[in-house]
């Protein structure tokens, strides 16, 4: 119940920051348009743009709630409902963004496996929400958090997908599923991508919860 209220109000709060929202929604579009002539490049860049946009938006929402969260805890809310509610809202927003760009890519490009392209974008959005939460939990200021996200996304874009560095990045699953969606090949790539995404999601969500459980703990004093 509390988690759903937190989710609904987080979504509403986010929808009112419409200038930031418009800029972030349009961000993947620029990534896509720059290499629109190359299907593979444009689709992968689009997905990474979705990841960057959703994680940055989550970072803003997490940072904007720093003053409210301790008071919600004192009023009786659990850490899980606060963090979980926010994650639900941001995942929902990310999924909608992914759906919109999937439709665009489907109309504009000739994709061998359109469903895999949709899956790639959805998985990217789903991973981006807890990743943005984790960065927000570890870096308390928006500027530092945004720079950290920029660094991670830049490394993810530039690193060799077959190399070790890329595999330790949060959006390696995007590259893996994207390769199948654009170039075809074995469905093993999809499964490897999904497994990587699941591990990253669990790691980011778990660590976010652990950080906030510590930060938002309320001392249980005995009654007088």
């Amino acid at each position: 119940m509390t988690a759903l209220v937190v989710a609904g109000l987080s979504a509403r709060e986010m929808s009112r920051r419409w200038t930031a929202l418009l800029l972030l929604i349009s961000l993947p579009l620029w990534f896509y348009l720059v290499r629109r002539d190359l299907t593979g490049q444009s689709i992968r860049m689009l997905a990474l743009g979705i990841g960057w946009a959703v994680s940055t938006l989550t970072l803003f929402v997490v940072n904007a709630s720093r003053g409210v969260d301790p008071r919600l805890r004192l009023s009786g809310a659990s850490v899980t409902s606060i963090i979980g509610g926010r994650l639900i809202a941001m995942t929902g927003a990310g999924a909608m963004l992914a759906l919109g760009y999937w439709a665009l890519a489907g109309f504009d490009q000739d994709l061998p496996h359109p469903w895999a392209a949709g899956l790639m974008m959805l998985v990217t959005a789903v991973v981006a929400a807890p990743f943005g939460s984790l960065v927000g939990a570890l870096l308390p200021r928006e500027l530092e958090g945004a720079l950290a996200l920029l660094s991670v996304c830049a490394v993810q874009m530039l690193a060799d997908p077959a190399g070790l560095v890329a595999k330790f990045m949060p959006f390696w699953s995007t590259r893996e599923i994207g390769t199948y969606a654009v170039d075809g090949g074995s469905t093993d790539m999809v499964w490897r991508g999904l497994a990587h995404a699941a591990v990253v999601w669990l790691f980011c969500a778990g660590l976010t919860l652990a950080v906030f459980a510590r930060r938002l703990r309320v001392a249980r004093y005995p009654e007088p």
Binding site: M1, T2, V5, V6, L9, R12, E13, M14, R16, R17, A64, S65, G67, V68, P70, R71, L72, R73, L74, S75, G76, A77, V218, A219, R220, Y221, P222, E223, P224
Partner: protein
Amino acid sequence: MSDWPARFEEELVRLGLQPARARRLSAETAEQAGEHGTDPDRLFGPAHLYARHLVTELRAPALVSERHVSGPVMLRLAGVGKRYRRRTVFSGVDLTVRGGEVAAIVGANGCGKSTLLRVCAGLIRPDAGTVHRTRRVGFVPQDGGTASWLTADEHFTLFGAAAGMVPRKARSTGTHLAARLAWRPAPGQPVQQLSGGTRQKLNLVLGELHGPDLLLLDEPYQGFDQGSYLDFWQQVRAWREAGRAVVVVTHLLHELQNVDHVLDLGAAGGNR
């Protein structure tokens, strides 16, 4: 049929009235609403708040003649201390506040007043001493503590949900409490568009929304105009008379005549 009279009666009993008297008052209140051709909820507001208001009114004459009738202990600090690295913020703090009492924490800037209040809330752990505190506590920070892009109504819903209240009840309770501070939240207006004083009124309402037994207020009147300031102290007296305990951080020494205990944390960075 609304269950307002039953909830009203239950709250009266919980607040210490004899069951027979509570039943009679509940019936009279329902009759009164009937005479106006409306629901008690519409006429009197939320049942639990009207019950508290009524109990306050009933007890007020007795309290005037017998000011020092206090309730159970709501907060007890014994030898509490806090350090940040090598710097001692405060040490050896003792304070006991009972229901129906107001305590003021005073001292110079940087002496740890807000830190002590956060220790009382449980948001910061003390490094020394013991704290005993009632479970239901409301905390009002000096600033912040709200979400800039949400409206007052949405804050009531959010904080109400945290306390297990359904959205409708949380909103009606919030609106009712706001009215007692002479404030009527405008629908659709986000908090960032409110003045500093109105934002503090929202902070106060949020601290009281779940009906805490102990209120911890950190200079909550910042930005208030004269009228709101007087309303605030009137509200503190109403809380006291309703049997709640209030701890308020203040630097306005002329208000200390209105409180039961004064805890002076002294100069900045110094020990008590």
